[in-house]
Each structure stands twice: as C-alpha cells, then as structure tokens.
Symmetry: C2
Subunit: 152 residues, 2 copies
C-alpha cells in the first residue's frame, strides 16, 4: 500500500467513517449511513469536534478512508493524578484488515497520548473479538480488566 496518512477527521470524512462502522456486525450497534441517521451522526461529530478532550482520527491510503479511531483524554485522580486516554471506536476497512493499518493507528494513538502528557492508554473490546485481543496483547496491552456495559 502507499504510505498511510493519519489525521484528524474532517466533516467530509463522516460518511466514509460511518461506512466503516456499517461493516461491523459484531458490535451490533446498528450503525448505517441513511438520510434518517445522518443528522444524529452529524450532531455527534460536531460534539466531538467541539470537545477539547476528544479527537476523532482517520487513516487514509491515498484519498481512501481505511481506518478510524477516537481518543478521549480523561483527567483522573487515580495514579497520582495521571491523565489517561481511552481509545474508542477503532475500525479498519474489512477488505484491508491484517495489513498493518491497525498497528499504525495504535502507534499514532500512543504517540499522541504521550505528546499530550498522558500516562496510559486504555480500551475495551468485545469478548468475542479474539483476533483483536491477540493484536492488542502483541502491542503491549495487558488484558487486566473486565469491561461492563449497561444500556438504557
């Protein structure tokens, strides 16, 4: 592949980002880009863009969006007041998986976290995503926690 570019997402990337979410049936989040859902995605995109503590990124191969992830910087008292970073909504285009895109995105996330003074990256991954878990452990993540969710 050509060199991957990772940059903050712009409004023009939104449809391509949601198309990556659409490919993911496992998450069961019901994501799809339609005239009905578009306003909710646009509102969420605007909320992320307006937040100093959130950044949404895209990975591009040439002009094609092939990956995305979000970083949330969380000030915290734990660990002597350490800033922590949550990695959220990590997606790689289905046809391009196992090609190193995820690893480049995570390396970028780690650099960005360190640049902003954070001392930890964290993320949760659905228990059924065994390949993803091996991937994160190869990158030096410890699978030390259980992840709980409660939907309303």
């Amino acid at each position: 592949m050509s060199a991957l570019t990772i940059r903050e997402a712009a409004p023009r990337d939104l449809e391509a980002i949601i198309r990556l979410h659409e490919e993911d049936e496992l998450g069961s989040h019901g994501d799809a880009w339609t005239p009905e859902t578009k306003p909710a995605y646009e509102a969420a995109f605007a909320a992320i863009a307006a937040s100093p503590e959130n950044s949404l990124f895209v990975a591009l191969d040439g002009d094609e969006v092939v990956g995305t992830f979000q970083l949330t910087f969380i000030p915290s008292l734990t660990s002597r007041g350490a800033l922590r970073v949550k990695v959220e909504s990590v997606k790689v285009k289905a046809a391009r998986r196992s090609g190193g895109i995820g690893a480049q995105m995570m390396a970028f996330a780690e650099q960005e976290a360190q640049r902003r003074g954070a001392r930890m990256l964290e993320l949760t991954s659905n228990k059924t995503r065994k390949d993803a878990h091996r991937f994160y452990e190869r990158l030096g993540f410890a699978c030390s926690h259980e992840g709980f969710k409660k939907k309303f």
Copy 2:
C-alpha cells in the same frame, strides 16, 4: 446509616477522596496523600472541575466522605451517535463496604447519565475484583468486554 448524600466534590473533599484511594492496594496505583503528591492531585482535581465532560462525586454519610466516583461523558459516533458515560475511580470506604453505598452511587450515576441524555454506562474493573463483578452484574451491567491497559 443516616441518609446518604451524593453531590459534586469540592476542593475541601480532596484529601478524603485520596484517603479512599489509599485504602485500595489492589489497584496498585500507588495513591497516597502526602506533601509530595498533593500538588498533582490538586492539579488533576482542577482539570476535572474545569472539564464540562467530567464530574467527580462524593457520597457523604453526615459529614464523612464514604465513597467517590467520576463520570466522563463521551460523545461518540457508535450506536448512531450515542453519548456514553464512563464510570471511573469508584471507591467505597473499606470499613463501610457491603452496606449499600456502592449501589446508591451507581443508581445516582445512572440517573445523572440519563438526565444528560446518555444511552449507556460503562466501566472496567480489575479481573481480580470478583466481588465487584458480581455487584455490577446484579445492577444489570453485562460483562461483555475485555479491558486492556497500556501504561507508559
């Protein structure tokens, strides 16, 4: 116990909050309230207070701080742009555990999340905290995810 009060933490609560963290050896976060660590906690407290997306709470029995937790409101594209809430740094005073304080704090967290329009609560808990996991499952949380951390 007398009726529990849950409110946003004020600067005067900071030492009592960190004393709750101190009691927790399992987390291995090295938290302790000392002249050396105080400035870092004060800076983190100020960062949380300044963030519209973070709120730190204390649970009080009379004047005594018996519990604490933090909520982080995270705008997200996933699930059609759903706002999610991360519950972080949940601590109950050791001598007061199993007395319903945690359940009252989580009920408050859920109300607060719903009041602000969120559609999900999430949290991670160290895999060794089996009692906490049963507690969260009783409250309707699904243990659906693995939680990964990478410290720098």
